[in-house]
Assembly symmetry: C2
Homo-oligomer: 250 residues x 2
């Protein structure tokens, strides 16, 4: 496989960096090709703007998604964006690795998504989304560390159920783009672990990655599960954390 | 009330800007004091780094949240962060206004959250979170535009239910910090609306804001709803989009 790891952590001596290094060495030892986008080390600019396009279809007022569509057709993205799009399209497996900040990715990684998951390539007109998304045929997973404890992300846990917390990423970003989603790897309560536990996390992550090609993807819906009103057809049972049957009267 | 509107849109001639302008004029006409942080206009830096602190407790390796805690005690945040913290603490109502990008806020606004919702002030040790959070006594709401249609965010809609999509913001960011959450204002299918519909959205938003002090907040759980294991106590019924009773065997 070609694996793209997009990594965001401000500190090169962090446990996050140790996880990254272990993942690269493991994947390479399994015969995969690995590309890493280390966003902090690259000084990646996360702020979407008109400068993201070398020519503009609508120069008077920025319509970001429409300029993305145009640039997808004419290859007129700024160099830093095109380089990341090329890596993305070349991968079979995308891993986003980060510390969980405010129930999501750090801003520098959100900006990578905003600027690189472009209209016209990753999703777009003609129903190019979900199982018909531009990244179909590829898989993706989140790998993150967090200060919270496992019980907090249980369905009845303080922070809410894990797949609801991650919905905007796993369903909204990965799923929408056509990526099939693997279960996340989570390094829990990382501020409160000792050296032995950290080594255990590294070994657990290595174990996951060694068997990653055999893993089942998470359940998701097909576009054909939804009617022309964009609602689940009446015979389709909801099977994700973010879908449920609308109650009568809704 | 003191209202802080944090606004992120790259285009000053956008409908988003029209919404912002209408919200400011409406709130002022109601007698409120309004502060606006226009992140694109300010050139706000969204990338959390060691430069966010004028002195470091752990200079060898950046531990971002621990430096935030130290800076909260010693007032040693970088100027741009301290200015935003001051606005945040002075407000009674926080509004985040933005175009919904990838089921979340644009990166520049995620960076405002990462850098301004600081450990030791907004949340922290001693159980300072949720109804005991640092921003308790204040309210917050999301106001956003999106290309999607209303049916898509219904419980059985293509994108998943709205409060699951927004969970990381409404529960994870607002709720965790002690903010009570008002229903979001959503400008749906904004790319596909005509001038009349856009005026209707502006009027609807104005109407919301004129009655905003009387609105009920969204249901949430109290810290005391959870046991020492961080799970909902057995007699407490889940009442949010992100909590459900764990199934036997979970």
């Amino acid at each position: 496989m070609n694996v793209l790891i997009v990594y965001a952590h401000p500190e090169p001596r962090s446990f996050g960096k140790a996880l990254l290094d272990r993942s690269v060495s493991t994947l390479v030892s399994c015969g995969h090709r690995v590309e890493v986008s280390d966003l902090y080390a690259m000084g990646f600019d996360p702020v979407a703007s008109g400068d993201d396009f070398t020519e503009r279809r609508f120069p008077d007022a920025l319509q970001y998604d429409r300029e993305q569509k145009q640039s997808s057709q004419r290859n007129t993205f700024a160099h830093d964006i095109q380089a990341e799009i090329d890596k993305l399209l070349a991968c079979d497996l995308l891993i986003l690795q980060f510390p969980l900040w405010w129930f999501s990715v750090p801003a520098i990684m959100k900006g990578w998504i905003d600027r690189v998951f472009v209209n016209g390539t990753v999703y777009g007109a003609g129903g190019m989304r979900f199982d018909n998304g531009g990244l179909q045929g590829r898989k993706a997973m989140l790998a993150f560390t967090t200060g919270c404890f496992p019980d907090m992300m249980e369905p009845d846990g303080l922070l809410g159920q894990r797949d609801v917390i991650l919905w905007h990423l796993q369903h909204g970003t990965f799923g929408y783009s056509g990526l099939q989603v693997l279960q996340p790897f989570v390094g829990f309560s990382i501020q409160y672990t000792d050296e032995a536990q950290r080594h255990a996390y590294l070994d657990a992550y290595e174990g996951r990655l060694r068997g990653i090609e055999q893993e089942e993807v998470m359940p998701s819906h097909l576009l054909t599960d939804f009617g022309p009103d964009w609602r689940l057809k009446s015979h389709v049972a909801p099977r994700t954390a973010g879908h449920r049957r609308a109650q009568p009267g809704n």
